[in-house]
Subunit: 340 residues, 2 copies
């Protein structure tokens, strides 16, 4: 590692997700070998992780272990679990981000505990009211960011404006979108449509000269590139995110049935297979890494509960990029400037 390059420290929850610790550990080894400026700190029971790591060879200074003896399960109530399990991988990982020991914490564990941990343990940036969780979803022309998909089910209108700001900075600095378009999810595009929250947020967003606000977006337009950044309360975000998943499954299963329905279609399937797999990869969440929790004093990245090593690896890369590109500094700076 060259002396002049800053080392990016990435804490990785080795006990989160369905295939822990095997898959996160495998991903850590791959990342440590490929990212010359990264150090992966596996968070979990020391002895167990030592044993898991013994099967691999890797640069010894680039994978460390941080002992954490407890695990928070997705079924536990997030806030009480954070309080009760001080030595859980999520609390330890979040604490490492707060102290600056890690730049990023990646976990496939409980979304609720990660959202609460980002806010309560890592802490919010100055001026940030709530820390939304953002999902990058595949669209016709690329991807779109939808936020909040986290826990803020009854946000204030000002919070939606903050989500718009953080989402814009993310898409600009992570995806190179200059002046990303921002839409507000609503049930119609006319001014009088919507509920009290959307109407109030709409008025506030119209006044934001730092945002490329294009007005209301209907959910129909999200997959069809309605906006680069789509803002909503977390209840709505959750509905969108999970329906994306369910509809994807429905359509894919229907297509499988079509392809397997006769000898003729099976031959057809062989002919379209390569092209189909390439396209379907675009719809695979594993390609996109994890969902960033924005607005905290450091990055918490949530990956899907059934992530494999490839998915963990992509999320580590995403966290690495976020740090190298200084996205959090951009967000911190924007919120400081607005307060002056």
């Amino acid at each position: 590692m060259p002396d002049n390059a800053k080392t990016i420290n990435i804490a990785l929850d080795a006990m989160g997700g369905d295939y822990a610790p095997a898959e996160p550990v495998k991903a850590a080894v791959q990342a440590a070998s490929e990212l010359s400026d990264a150090r992966i700190i596996l968070v979990g029971p020391e002895e167990l992780l030592k044993k898991e790591l013994s099967a691999y060879s890797f640069p010894a200074d680039r994978i460390l272990i941080r002992n954490a003896t407890e695990v928070i399960s997705p079924e536990e109530s997030p806030v009480s679990a954070l309080r009760a399990k001080k030595d859980s991988t999520i609390v330890v990982g979040c604490r490492m981000v707060r102290t600056g020991e890690a730049d990023v914490f990646v976990s496939a564990g409980s979304t609720g505990a990660l959202v609460a941990g980002g806010s309560l343990v890592v802490g919010r940036l100055k001026g940030v009211e709530r820390t939304p969780i953002a999902f990058e979803l595949p669209t016709a022309g690329g991807t779109g960011l939808v936020l909040d998909c986290g826990a803020n089910v009854d946000p204030k209108p000002t919070m939606l404006v903050q989500f718009a700001r953080m989402g814009s900075l993310y898409m600009k600095h992570m995806r190179g979108k200059e002046n990303p378009t921002v839409g507000l999810v609503n049930i119609g595009t006319e001014d009088e449509k919507g509920n009290a929250l959307t109407k109030a947020a709409h008025e506030l967003l119209k006044e934001c000269t730092d945002l490329n606000y294009i007005g209301y977006v209907e959910s129909r337009d999200i997959p069809l590139d309605g906006a680069d950044v789509t803002v909503c309360d977390a209840f709505t975000g959750n509905i969108i995110l999970k329906l994306y998943e369910g509809m994807g499954k429905l359509m894919l299963n229907a297509l499988k049935d079509v392809l397997m329905s006769s000898t003729k279609t099976k031959i057809g399937a062989l002919l379209i297979k390569d092209s189909l797999q390439k396209t379907m990869k675009r719809f695979d969440y594993k390609v996109y890494g994890g969902a960033p929790l924005l607005g905290a004093k450091g990055l918490v990245l949530k990956t899907h509960g059934n992530s494999d090593a490839g998915s963990f690896y992509n999320t580590i890369i995403q966290g690495h990029d976020f740090s190298v590109r200084g996205v959090n500094d951009q967000i911190a700076q924007a919120f400081l400037t607005l307060q002056e």
Copy 2:
């Protein structure tokens, strides 16, 4: 028409939708020829409709015209348009249902005006607090009913219980589902998840012995047969309905790109074409007819704005079935019994 059979009178908005009056008139002629116990009453400008009808031959006593000189456009504010345009097709059609002159009113016009018309002009059944609009969506195993997708963006918990009851009776009597399962849309399946509305409605629904309530359903599960009847506020319902549409388009366009990407895939496309078309038909809203507005003193059926004659025809059949099966009597009876 045999004397002993009750004639079903179906009022049809001849001016609603993108292809009016040509497509609704064409559908009326087909329905009048095929349904021996139905009378179609075209609602719209008399002279125009006479001219349109002159191209067809049909049993003269089975298609009537009811003059209505105005049209409410989807851009107009529903309630003020209803007040200002007393001679609009929507007001005239709803009034015909209220007076019993028509059993059903089918329209591809403004959803908002139809929802408001169903409630204000037709009037609600005794005990019904709000009239939800229900959409039958394709699922892995058949269809599921989602309601409310209409205008009740801030409903009370008791209203969601009523929606569940009306949706269940619809699926039972229209689709032959004995004891249909009822789910409440939420962002998780644990008791503590959700907002104030879902939590309160959840408690009320658990107490309903006349409903097969299975608890919270996540949006992911709606396309995968999570419940026969899925209940939510209209904001959420609208998000679900339109995202269904948008995701369908995204996936279908992606598939088209796959099939057209090379000579090899084009040959594959020819081999799977028949099977694919059959399956895709299941995902075409036109097959399912229209969306019923439930809980009014008669049936208002909203069809898609770009309905063709086939879609209008299917919606007429749906309205006919609804009347023949006495679904509204079932709903009226259920609400009366509950009040006793």
